[in-house]
């Protein structure tokens, strides 16, 4: 087929949200000529829901993105206005950074970052069709008739695919409030035969900060010592602000219950499935009827705006009713809504169509990233964008594809879950989804992943040097922890014995001491030899102590998993037709065909596979083709 194009690129990325930005940046920086096509250049990197990045497990994802050479961590570090390390009082493996962003600054910073990226062209417009020939992509067609050639395409269209907004009984097509939906592109995906489903998400109303009685709320401050997302960030420069915590009341709940018939969620108007961990206020009131209050966060949207995000009050009730309900909340008696909350339904494509490189298995060069794969969250989207962008570029360049395993990154967990299990509600990452949670800390993302980022070509020299220096510093501290001993004859011994039971032990290393209850990192710091004490940063020491704390548990967990799932790493040939396997029932073969697992472990996690089917598969993959 001969196609005439107005212009052509190696890689075209559709969508300028968090997935699209990472994809375009990675692809361009890897040397592929890249175009980012978006509906509105002024809304690149827009945070469509709450103005924050990170949180438990999500923060881990951002640090992994950063370690691989992605951009989200750097952008939020420059635009975050309230940094908090969550779970600070808990173990290092479950601590995770979170930062509230100045929404407008984040958007501008992201756009500036992309504009300064060589090989990257920004194009405004709406993609209405994909050009496919010989089971491979050729380019995209724009609404205005332009045709852009592409060797690889990343679709990162967010909630725009067939987007339908609900407020009360009102519905209208939209991608986000005030932006058009992508109807034709959604239709094109259906024409290509992809299994398409419907999901739902929602957002709360935004308030005019001048109309809030702030004194009625409890303030929540930023950390004194902010933990950055990017390993390259030395200091957080943005002035930090407070957020505020308040509560709904039983009266508010009663009023919501009385008006449930107005809610499109309960009238049957919304068909898409929403996320259980991000329920609307209607859902909270109905499903947890015995709770007489629900927590709310008032999050200022930036330094230079009065807009305040009412976190915890996601709703699709009619705007007039939203205003009434908000004013029933203590402290919001006179508050005005600037933008009403709404629910949005959108199309997603079953992610079981994808390989571990996020490429659609049936069409060469077509990649999907973000909400199109059924995920929710900026961080979930961004890490898929990064992976898709890398793989689009290396595919064009004829280099090997890149993927991550479950045991080395949350990104690996997320992708494996998506492509083997599919989704039945918007997928969010949790630390409990990772079998190897203790090994996947936010602060060791660089140790786990920077080598890959370097190999691929996204980690530059200065970042690589910084990583190596840090690794060396930590290694020295670890060595010192192993070799420095506290003896009974030492003056510190008696003081230590008061903090933790030493049972008269003659001597022990700092590594052993640090594992005991009651021994904090500051105590260990005091006991380190002078040459380490002066040079060591608290972060380095805490890193070394976390490794020390978890090493035994990680080992015993590995041995348990190995004992029970020894065959998990066995590869399954990609060309294996499960229907040809002797002894597999039709249903089991279909389930396997659907998920196309690439390892025996992935097959094991497919819901509904019987032990018999797994045994049959095991014998077959063990013999090899």
């Amino acid at each position: 087929m001969i196609m005439a194009f107005d212009e052509a690129f190696d890689v075209v990325v559709i969508g300028g949200g968090h997935a699209g930005c990472e994809a375009a940046s990675a692809s361009a920086r890897l040397g592929a000529s890249t175009a980012l096509v978006t509906l509105n250049l002024d809304l690149i990197g827009q945070m469509s829901c709450n103005p924050a990045v990170g949180g438990i497990a999500k923060g881990h994802l951002v640090r992994e993105i950063d370690a691989l050479g992605g951009i989200m961590g750097r952008v939020i570090d420059r635009t975050g206005i309230q940094f908090r390390l969550l779970n600070r009082s808990r173990g290092p493996a479950v601590q995770s950074p979170r930062a509230q962003a100045d929404r407008a600054l984040y958007r501008l910073e992201m756009r500036t970052t992309l504009e300064n990226t060589p090989n990257l062209s920004l194009r405004q417009g709406m993609v209405v069709d994909l050009l496919i020939a010989n089971k491979g992509v050729r380019g995209v067609v724009m609404q205005d008739g332009r045709r852009i050639g592409a060797k690889a395409i990343v679709i990162a269209a967010g909630t725009f695919l067939n987007g339908l907004i609900h407020t009360g009984r009102q519905t209208y097509t939209a991608g986000r409030a005030g932006e058009p939906a992508s109807i034709e592109l959604a239709a094109a995906l259906k024409r290509l035969g992809f299994p398409v489903g419907r999901l739902k998400t929602g957002t709360p109303p935004r308030l005019d900060g001048r109309t809030i009685n702030w004194d009625a709320f409890q303030s929540q401050q930023a950390d004194e010592r902010p933990v950055a997302f990017s390993f390259s960030t030395d200091k957080i420069e943005q002035a930090q602000i407070d957020c505020y915590i308040g509560y709904t009341t039983a009266d508010v709940h009663a009023a919501i219950r009385k008006n449930l018939h107005e809610s499109p969620l309960y009238s049957g108007q919304i068909k898409g499935v929403g996320p259980r961990y991000c329920p609307s206020i209607e859902d909270k009131v109905v499903k947890f009827a015995d709770k007489d209050r629900h927590q709310l966060f008032l999050e200022p949207e930036g330094h230079d705006t009065n807009e305040v995000y009412l976190n915890g009050f996601s709703t699709s009730l009619p705007p007039g009713l939203q205003q009434e309900l908000v004013r029933m909340i203590p402290g919001l008696e006179t508050a005005n809504i600037i933008r009403p909350g709404y629910a949005i339904e959108y199309d997603y494509v079953d992610p079981r169509e994808l390989g571990p490189d996020l490429q659609v298995r049936s069409i060469a060069g077509l990649f999907h990233a973000g909400q199109i794969n059924g995920t929710t969250g900026y961080e979930e989207a961004a890490c898929q964008g990064l992976l898709a962008g890398i793989n689009a570029a290396v595919m064009v360049q004829g280099r090997p594809r890149f993927g991550l395993r479950r045991e080395e990154a949350y990104i690996g967990v997320l992708v494996d879950d998506l492509i083997t299990q599919g989704v039945d509600e918007p997928y969010r990452i949790f630390t409990s989804r990772a079998e190897y949670r203790l090994a996947l800390r936010h602060d060791n993302a660089d140790e786990r992943l920077s080598k890959y980022g370097r190999e691929i070509g996204l980690v530059g020299d200065s970042d690589w040097d910084r990583f190596n220096q840090r690794r060396d510093r930590i290694a020295r501290i670890k060595g010192s922890l192993e070799t420095t001993r506290v003896r009974k004859s030492d003056s510190a011994y008696a003081a230590l014995a008061e903090k933790t039971a030493l049972n008269g032990i003659e001597s022990l290393t700092l590594a052993e001491l640090a594992k005991r209850p009651g021994i904090s990192s500051s105590i260990i710091l005091l006991l380190l030899p002078v040459e380490f004490r002066s040079g060591a940063s608290v972060e380095d020491l805490e890193f070394a102590l976390a490794d020390n704390l978890y090493s035994g548990y990680i080992k015993s967990q590995e041995s348990v998993i190995h004992r029970l799932h020894a065959h998990d790493t066995l590869p399954i040939p990609t060309n294996l037709d499960f229907r040809t396997l002797n002894g597999l029932s039709h249903e089991m073969a279909e389930r396997l065909e659907r998920a196309k697992p690439v390892t025996f472990g992935a097959a094991r996690r497919i819901p509904g596979l019987t032990p018999a089917a797994l045994a049959t598969l095991l014998v077959n993959v063990s013999t090899g083709p």
């Binding site: 203790l438 004992r563 002894g583």
Partner: protein, 449 residues
């Protein structure tokens, strides 16, 4: 790849049994068995070696051992084959010892599976492979079916549910720190943890009885000549099987009969009387008695109640002390002369008369003691060594979690052990996925800003 072990010959007594090991630790384990750190057998050559118990250095057996070096073995891995005497006692000791090293029991078909994986067989050798597939499929299907309506799985459900509740509470605390969740009640949780642990422990303890139930309880009757062993044997067997006369030493050979005592399989052995051998045939008989004693799970030491304790009785008791045993004071229909007070240290003593049948129910109850007092309705017993293994491991992980909690360790550390325990239980009851846990969390708590 880990190291696996299995008895490769059919279960039961036989002249020779073969134990096979496959995996990287095979040779190291063999070195432990022969207690020679430097033992370097020439591959593919048979060597006669003494196998010794690790702790006591007691002789387990003399056996022919062969080492096959990777890749020149059936599985393609390092392998060791041990041909020993086919006694269940020896085999059990040997397997226990090997399992205490870095090896685990092989799953059905696993040796063949490894052979496949290492390219020692390929799919075109279709016949063998297809058989294996079928065997595996059926075994696995049968296993799955058993689990679907499985009693054990059902019995484990409450423990598993409580474990999941604990995991859910701790996971929520870690995962949803910004939500308004109730605080974790540590004290209450450690109580629950203790309760679940002891429930698993008592279930695991039934393996002792469960194994006997599956393999049959081996009971051997011993005593000096003419104390009434054969009468007792016959009464239990209820046939005139053994030759009973009042001439000492009538039973020159051991006699074994399989009987069912209240539904429990018992293999009952009558032995030649224990005394200085009068002739060669008797000497052989006594040697056999010793062997029957060694194989038994339980000895019944018979002592004539109608006369005083003889030196020979004392000899028998001395030999019996090495084993688990009960004492039957026989001939209860004759005037009692014997008193045994103070010599028994808690050993169970039953007075019986094989003639009148008096005391026989007590004797049966004593034999069946390991199955619990109410042996008429045997409760749930662990019969599968794999289940036993999994339960024990689950239990020890719970104990670790309990210790961590008591020391104030972080939730993620307690959770690591709780998840391990759940994984082990899951290998019996079916897996619990992280998705299941999350569903439970969202059903329990109002999560989400």
């Amino acid at each position: 790849m880990d190291t696996i072990v299995a008895v490769s010959t059919p279960p039961g007594r036989s002249a020779i049994a073969v134990v096979r090991l496959s995996g990287p630790q095979s040779l190291a384990i063999l070195r432990v068995l022969v207690q020679e750190e430097q033992f370097a057998p020439e591959p593919n050559h048979v060597t006669l070696k003494k196998l010794l118990a690790e702790s006591s250095n007691d002789l387990i057996d003399e056996a022919l051992v062969t080492y096959f070096q990777s890749p020149h073995s059936f599985t393609g891995e390092d392998m060791v084959e041990i041909s020993c005497h086919g006694s269940p006692v020896i085999l059990r000791q040997l397997i226990d010892l090997i399992q205490s090293q870095e090896a685990r029991l092989a799953e059905p078909g696993e040796f063949t599976l490894r052979a496949c994986r290492n390219g020692k067989m390929n799919l075109s050798q279709a016949e063998a492979i297809r058989d294996l597939i079928n065997a595996q499929t059926q075994a696995a299907a049968a296993q799955a079916k058993r689990q679907l309506r499985g009693e054990l799985s059902e019995a484990l459900q409450p423990s598993k549910q409580e474990l999941i509740r604990m995991i859910v509470t701790l996971e929520s605390a870690v995962e949803f720190v910004e939500d308004d969740l109730p605080a974790v009640q540590v004290e209450e949780m450690s109580k629950t943890l203790g309760r679940v642990t002891s429930r698993l422990a008592s279930l695991a303890e039934t393996y002792q009885a469960g194994r006997l139930l599956r393999e049959g309880l081996r009971v051997t009757i011993v005593g000096r000549p003419n104390v009434g062993k054969s009468s007792l044997f016959n009464n239990l067997v209820r046939t005139e099987r053994a030759i009973v006369t009042d001439v000492a030493g009538t039973t020159r050979d051991s006699l074994t009969e399989a009987i069912s005592l209240q539904g429990i399989p018992v293999s009952l052995t009558d032995t030649a009387g224990f005394r200085e051998a009068g002739d060669k045939i008797e000497a052989i008989g006594i040697e056999r008695t010793r062997r029957a004693m060694a194989d038994a799970d339980l000895l019944i030491v018979v002592i004539d109640g109608s006369c005083s304790l003889q030196d020979e009785d004392v000899e028998v008791l001395k030999e019996a002390r090495e084993h688990s045993f009960i004492i039957a004071i026989s001939k209860g229909d004759l005037p009692r002369v014997l008193t045994l007070d103070g010599q028994l240290n808690g050993t169970q003593v039953v007075h019986v008369s094989a003639m009148s049948g008096e005391g026989m129910p007590d004797l049966m109850a004593a034999i069946l003691e390991p199955f619990g007092s109410d042996s008429g309705s045997v409760g749930l017993l662990i019969t599968d060594s794999r289940h036993y293994d999994l339960l024990t491991r689950a239990k020890s992980n719970l104990e670790k979690a309990s210790r961590s909690m008591a020391q104030g360790a972080g939730e993620e550390i307690v959770l690591a052990d709780l998840h391990n325990a759940l994984r082990f239980l899951g290998a019996i009851t079916g897996e619990t996925t992280s998705e299941d846990i999350l569903s439970e969390i969202f059903a329990s708590f109002c999560i989400g800003k």
